[in-house]
C-alpha cells in the first residue's frame, strides 16, 4: 500500500517548516525541524541516506562508500536512481492532494522501523 502525508507543526498546525541541519563529528547528521510560524520544535530526523536535487552528485557520494564488482549492477542502480526519485516525488504530491494519510507521523515511522 502506498500513502503520503505532509508534516505539520503539532503546536500551531502550520505546514511552513524550517530544516536545521546539525553536524557532529562521528555521528550521523541530524535535521531539526522547526515551525516557521511559531518557531517551536517539530521533529528530528537522523539521516541515513540523502539525495539532493543534484541527483548524480548524490549518487556519486553514495557509490563512493561501496564496493561493486558488476558493471551491470551499477548500471541498474544508475537507472533506478535517476527514475525513481522524480516518479516518487510526483506520486507523493498526488497522494497528498487526493487523500492524505491519517496516521500520525510517529506511528508511520515506528511501523516502518519495525518492518526493517
Amino acid at each position: 500500500m502506498v500513502s503520503a502525508k505532509r508534516e505539520r507543526c503539532p503546536h500551531c498546525g502550520s505546514i511552513e517548516l524550517i530544516n536545521n541541519i546539525f553536524i557532529k563529528e562521528g555521528e550521523p547528521v541530524k535535521v531539526y525541524v522547526q515551525c516557521f510560524k511559531c518557531r517551536k520544535f517539530v521533529a528530528r530526523y537522523t539521516i541515513d541516506y540523502y539525495t539532493s536535487s543534484k541527483r548524480y552528485e548524490a549518487f556519486l557520494n553514495r557509490v563512493s562508500k561501496r564496493y561493486f564488482d558488476s558493471g551491470r549492477n551499477v548500471c541498474k542502480r544508475v537507472k533506478a536512481f535517476d527514475e525513481t526519485i522524480e516518479e516518487e516525488f510526483e506520486q507523493c504530491k498526488k497522494l497528498i492532494k487526493e487523500r492524505e494519510e491519517e496516521k500520525k507521523i510517529e506511528e508511520i515511522i515506528t511501523k516502518s522501523e519495525e518492518g526493517k
Binding site: 549518487f59 557520494n61 557509490v63 561501496r66 564496493y67 564488482d69 558488476s70 558493471g71 549492477n73 548500471c75
Partner: protein
C-alpha cells in the same frame, strides 16, 4: 528480475548442471561433479541471476555436498587465504583514506601542479585516478574524481573534450588497478590460485610487473582520448578542491598507510608475508577507533567472498584434476604459443566486456594454471587483460558510473574501449609475455 523469473532461472541453471554431469564424458565422478559446478557457476556469473557473491556460496555448498572424499576445510580455507587478508588490509587502508580525506589531499596536491592545458589536465586527472585506484576501489576512485571534475565539466563549453575528460576517469581507474595486488580482485585471484600451485608472487614482484603495464595503459589511453575528442581550446584550468590543513589524525592515517605500503614493498627484506603486514592497518585503525563498526560493515565483504568462491572453485578443479583434463583437450602444437596467447587473452577480453572482471578471472585462471605450457605467463596475462576490457557501460562499475553522468553515450565509450582492447591484446601477447618472463620468471 522478479522472484518468479529468478526462480525459473535458478532451476534452469541447475538442470544444465545435471545435464553436464550426465554427458558421456570419460572422466571420474569427482571431475564430473566439478565440471557441473564449474558450469553452474559460469552461468550464474554470466547471467547474474543471483548476486555474484551468492554464487561463491553456491560453489562451496555444492563442493562440500558432493565432493565428500575431500576435507571440507580444503574448500572453506579458500575464504581465508593469505591473498584475501591482503585484500582486506587494502580495503581497510582505503576506508581510512576516504574517511579522513587523504584521497582528496592527494588529488589536490597533484591538481595544484597541473599546467593549464587540455592535455596536461587530461593526463593529470588520469594520473591521480590511477594512483588512487592502485590502493582504493576503482569504483570509489571514479566517484571521487568525477565529483572533483563536475565543476569543470559544467563550465567547459567544448562538448567533445568534455566527453574525453569524463571517459578518462573510469578508464584510468580500470587500468590503475593493475599496478598493485590490491588494486583489483582479478590480481588477487591470480596470486591466490598461483600460490596454491606453489608459485608465490610477492607484493613487490606484482608491482614490478603491474606498474609498467598500468603506465603504458595510461599513456596510451590519454593519447587516444586526446586525439579522438580533440579539444578546441588551448587552455583549460581545473578549480582545486578546497584547501584543508592536514590535521593530526590525517597525518597518523597517512603514516600508517605509508608504513604498511613500505612493509609490503620490502617483504623480501624482512621476510613477513604480505598477509601478515595487511593485518597492521586492520588492528591499528579498528583498535584505536579510527574506524568504527559502521566502517567495518561497509568493507567490501561481498568482493572478498567472491574472490574466495573463485579460489574454492580453482581448488576443486586442481584437486580433482579437472583443469588438467580440460587443458589436455587442447593441443598446443596445433596452434603455436602465440596463437594460444591470442586466443586466451582475446577470450578474457570478450568475456569481461560483458561480465564481471572477477567472475571472468575466477573461471579462466584455474584453467590457465593447469596448462602444460607457460601456465604462469598465461594466468597473469588473463588477470591483467580483464582490466583492459572497458568497451561498454556494463564492462566495469567505473564505466557504469561515468555513463550515469549522461555526458557520454555507449558509442563514445565503445569507440575508445574497443581500440584499447585490441591494443591491449597485442601488447600483452608481444610485450607483456616477455615482461612477465623478465620480472617473475618464464614458467
Amino acid at each position: 528480475m522478479n522472484n518468479r523469473n529468478r526462480l525459473f532461472g535458478i532451476i534452469a541453471i541447475f538442470i544444465v548442471g545435471i545435464v553436464v554431469y550426465n554427458l558421456p564424458i570419460p572422466i571420474p565422478y569427482d571431475q564430473k561433479i566439478t565440471l557441473s559446478i564449474f558450469t553452474i557457476a559460469a552461468i550464474f556469473w554470466m547471467t547474474e541471476v543471483i548476486p555474484l557473491y551468492a554464487t561463491a556460496f553456491v560453489i562451496v555448498l555444492l563442493e562440500t555436498l558432493f565432493l565428500r572424499d575431500y576435507s571440507i576445510g580444503l574448500f572453506f580455507h579458500s575464504f581465508f587465504e593469505p591473498v584475501i587478508l591482503i585484500f582486506l588490509g587494502g580495503f581497510v587502508l582505503a576506508a581510512a583514506f576516504q574517511k579522513y580525506g587523504v584521497d582528496r589531499i592527494v588529488a589536490r596536491v597533484i591538481l595544484s601542479r597541473t599546467p593549464p592545458t587540455p592535455f596536461a589536465v587530461l593526463l593529470s586527472v588520469m594520473f591521480i585516478t590511477a594512483v588512487l585506484s592502485m590502493w582504493m576501489s576503482n569504483t570509489a576512485t571514479t566517484a571521487l574524481m568525477i565529483g572533483v571534475l563536475i565543476p569543470v565539466l559544467k563550465k567547459l563549453e567544448d562538448a567533445r573534450f568534455r566527453k574525453g575528460l569524463i571517459l578518462s576517469i573510469p578508464f584510468a581507474a580500470n587500468v590503475g588497478g593493475i599496478a598493485t595486488p590490491i588494486g583489483t580482485p582479478p590480481n588477487a585471484i591470480a596470486i591466490g590460485i598461483l600460490a596454491k600451485k606453489g608459485i608465490d608472487i610477492s607484493f613487490l614482484k606484482w608491482m614490478e610487473l603491474g606498474l609498467p603495464i598500468a603506465i603504458f595503459g595510461i599513456i596510451l589511453i590519454a593519447i587516444l582520448l586526446y586525439f579522438i575528442f580533440k579539444p578546441t581550446t588551448h587552455t583549460l584550468s581545473l578549480p582545486l578542491p578546497p584547501k584543508e590543513s592536514v590535521d593530526a589524525k590525517q597525518k597518523q592515517v597517512i603514516g600508517v598507510g605509508f608504513f604498511t605500503i613500505l612493509l609490503w614493498l620490502t617483504g623480501p627484506l624482512h621476510g613477513y608475508n604480505s598477509a601478515v603486514v595487511a593485518l597492521i592497518p586492520v588492528v591499528l585503525f579498528f583498535g584505536f577507533g579510527y574506524l568504527k563498526k559502521d566502517d567495518f560493515n561497509d568493507i567490501g565483504w561481498d568482493i572478498l567472498i567472491l574472490v574466495g568462491g573463485g579460489l574454492a572453485l580453482g581448488t576443486a578443479m586442481q584437486e580433482t584434476g579437472l583443469s588438467s583434463w580440460i587443458v589436455g583437450q587442447i593441443d598446443p602444437t596445433k596452434f603455436g604459443v602465440i596463437w594460444i596467447m591470442v586466443i586466451f587473452t582475446g577470450v578474457s577480453l570478450i568475456f569481461t566486456t560483458f561480465m564481471s572482471n572477477s567472475a571472468t578471472a575466477n573461471l579462466l585462471i584455474p584453467l590457465m594454471v593447469s596448462l602444460s605450457w607457460h601456465p604462469l605467463i598465461l594466468s597473469i596475462m588473463v588477470a591483467v587483460s580483464v582490466s583492459f576490457a572497458m568497451a561498454l557501460p556494463i564492462s566495469t562499475p567505473p564505466n557504469a558510473i561515468a555513463y550515469g553522468s549522461g555526458e557520454i553515450n555507449v558509442k563514445d565509450m565503445a569507440k575508445v574501449g574497443i581500440i584499447i582492447e585490441v591494443v591491449a591484446l597485442l601488447f600483452m601477447v608481444f610485450i607483456g609475455q616477455h615482461l612477465i618472463k623478465f620480472v617473475i620468471g618464464g614458467l
